[in-house]
């Protein structure tokens, strides 16, 4: 589903974010990406979503080589991915409902079908009662769940999450991990970048550990990275 082969990423200015990274993630896997901040976790996720391009090596997502992807094909790649951001990237000038409906509007769904899907997504993250609220009125955990609802409303086969529990206390964090687990159970491929030790202790799954841009260990189990 996702495979990296000897990927190098250097930012302008010379900072080497990823060094010779290779790995494979199979369909339906739930994989944690661990490492300290600055280890290259975000860069790795950005390469998958074609927000950044590798300097060398190949990044293959669902059979497409991202490095060789034309600019006009990128939107269609991203529609197959659900992106969850640490800073949520919500739009505060519109309601909860309108935030979640945006990906469907982009794909051109008709009104009735998209309303149905938005409510289903909001229901899954427990925000159905808040659809008319403004995102600014939501707590940090609720905003993160809203971001998840927006990422899944399009029913993507791959979910990428960058520090989804970054600023949340333990209760909220395990809430969110519970939601992720339910996606895993229905066959969604998940890649979750986190440095949250609690989560890594709680959940079974493969872990990829990044250290200063290098992939050090691919450990399985209760992920003591």
């Amino acid at each position: 589903m996702i495979s990296f082969n000897q990927v190098n990423k250097r930012y302008p200015g010379g900072y080497q974010a990823l060094k010779n990274v290779s790995f494979n993630i199979a369909e339906g896997e739930m994989v944690f990406l661990t490492g300290h901040s600055g280890a290259g976790k975000s860069t790795l996720l950005k390469l998958i979503a074609a927000i950044e391009r590798p300097n060398s090596g190949s990044v293959v997502v669902k059979g497409q080589n991202i490095a060789a992807l034309k600019g006009s094909a990128i939107p269609y790649l991203r529609r197959n991915l659900g992106l969850i951001f640490q800073d949520h990237k919500l739009l505060f000038d519109r309601s909860v409902f309108d935030n979640v409906v945006l990906p469907l509007e982009i794909c051109g769904f008709d009104h009735r079908e998209s309303s149905k899907r938005v409510r289903a997504a909001l229901d899954k993250v427990g925000l159905l009662q808040r659809e008319k609220s403004s995102p600014i009125a939501l707590s940090g955990g609720e905003q993160q769940r809203l971001c998840i609802a927006r990422a899944i409303v399009n029913r993507p086969s791959i979910l990428l999450a960058d520090e989804p529990t970054g600023n949340l206390d333990a209760d909220y964090a395990s809430d969110i991990m519970g939601i992720f687990k339910s996606f895993h159970q229905v066959g969604v491929t998940l890649l979750i970048a986190t440095h949250d030790e609690n989560i890594l202790r709680q959940f079974e799954g493969r872990a990829l550990a990044l250290k200063q841009g290098e992939l050090h260990a691919s450990s399985t189990g209760s992920g003591q990275a």
């Binding site: 979503a49 927000i51 006009s72 939107p75 269609y76 790649l77 991203r78 529609r79 991915l81 992106l83 990237k89 739009l91 000038d93 945006l102 990906p103 509007e105 982009i106 794909c107 051109g108 008709d110 927006r150 990422a151 399009n154």
Partner: protein, 302 residues
């Protein structure tokens, strides 16, 4: 196809909502565009009116042939015969000096002045209607007749029309230059409006990009906005012209009554009006397109 239509309608509704959320600045923008457009378009309408009036006057080109005061009845008959036989002349009409005086009295209201004359100062005349109405043939005919004996003066009645036409040509060129310059102004206004919108909606554009919006999806609302703003500017320009003509006509009424003629300025024809609206909408779209092409590429997700 249906999907495409639904998306466009949705974007249009969204655009209208956005116009309404900033009513004052939208109104001012539209007004600026309308005023800028109304200047050349109004000038064009005015010139068009003058031209159609001139054409009416020139539709029956004629040459007035005034005979010498000392021309005898024989001379008059001979000249009439010669004119009748001339190849370039279609039809002639004799105006005896007595009738000319009566006509003058009736049409100009100078009865008092004429009543005071001891003798008729007007000569006998022929009105000559040529077969071909084009200017060159008319002038050639005039020059030829000028050389005939016993003719005092040959006057080409439509000469002023040609002079006016040359003047109108000049005016139309001026209107065109004005139109081109103000079109740039219109494009600039739209360019800047859209630039500000793009900057204020930076987050939305970035997020849309991240969740798979194509460039054309992101561009669409801005292009619609430019188009709509241009169109409303065109409507404003049309209204400005229509109201101005209405005002001009009411004051023109008094003027034309003094000269015992009736002349009203007509509003732009249907075709011209539609051209104006189409033109302004296209310019708005162009300004938006330029702005979007310039500024959207600067917003890339990080």
């Amino acid at each position: 196809m249906k999907n495409w239509l639904i998306q466009h309608v949705r974007v249009l509704l969204f655009t209208l909502r956005r116009l309404r959320t900033a009513p004052l600045s939208s109104l001012l923008n539209i007004l600026v565009i309308g005023i800028a457009l109304s200047l050349p378009a109004g000038l064009y309408v005015l010139l068009h009116n003058i031209q159609s009036m001139a054409e009416q006057a020139a539709s029956t080109p004629q040459i007035s042939v005034f005979l010498s005061m000392d021309a005898s009845a024989d001379d008059i008959a001979r000249i009439g015969k010669q004119l009748n036989q001339h190849q370039a002349i279609g039809r002639i009409e004799f105006v005896p000096r007595d009738r000319a005086l009566v006509q003058l009295e009736q049409t100009t209201g100078l009865a008092d002045v004429i009543g005071g004359l001891t003798q008729n100062p007007l000569p006998d005349a022929y009105l000559v209607y040529p077969k071909k109405p084009d200017a060159k043939a008319l002038e050639a005919l005039r020059d030829e007749l000028q050389k005939w004996p016993k003719l005092e003066y040959v006057q080409l009645d439509s000469a002023w029309v040609h002079k006016l036409e040359a003047l109108l040509k000049f005016g139309r060129l001026a209107a065109l230059i004005l139109a081109v310059l103000l079109s740039f102004a219109l494009v600039t206004v739209t360019f800047n409006t859209i630039r500000l919108q793009i900057l204020t909606r930076r987050d939305e554009i970035e997020v849309s990009r991240l969740i798979g919006a194509t460039d054309s999806f992101i561009r669409r609302p801005f292009l619609h906005f430019g188009l709509l703003q241009g169109l409303l500017g065109g409507v404003t320009a049309w209204l400005i012209i229509a109201v101005s003509l209405l005002l001009l006509n009411s004051s023109l009424d008094g003027l034309t009554q003094l000269y015992a003629s009736s002349f009203t300025l007509r509003p732009p024809a249907m075709g011209d009006s539609l051209t104006l609206l189409l033109f302004s909408a296209c310019l708005g779209w162009l300004g938006a397109w330029l702005s979007v092409a310039q500024h959207l590429s600067q917003i890339e997700p990080r």
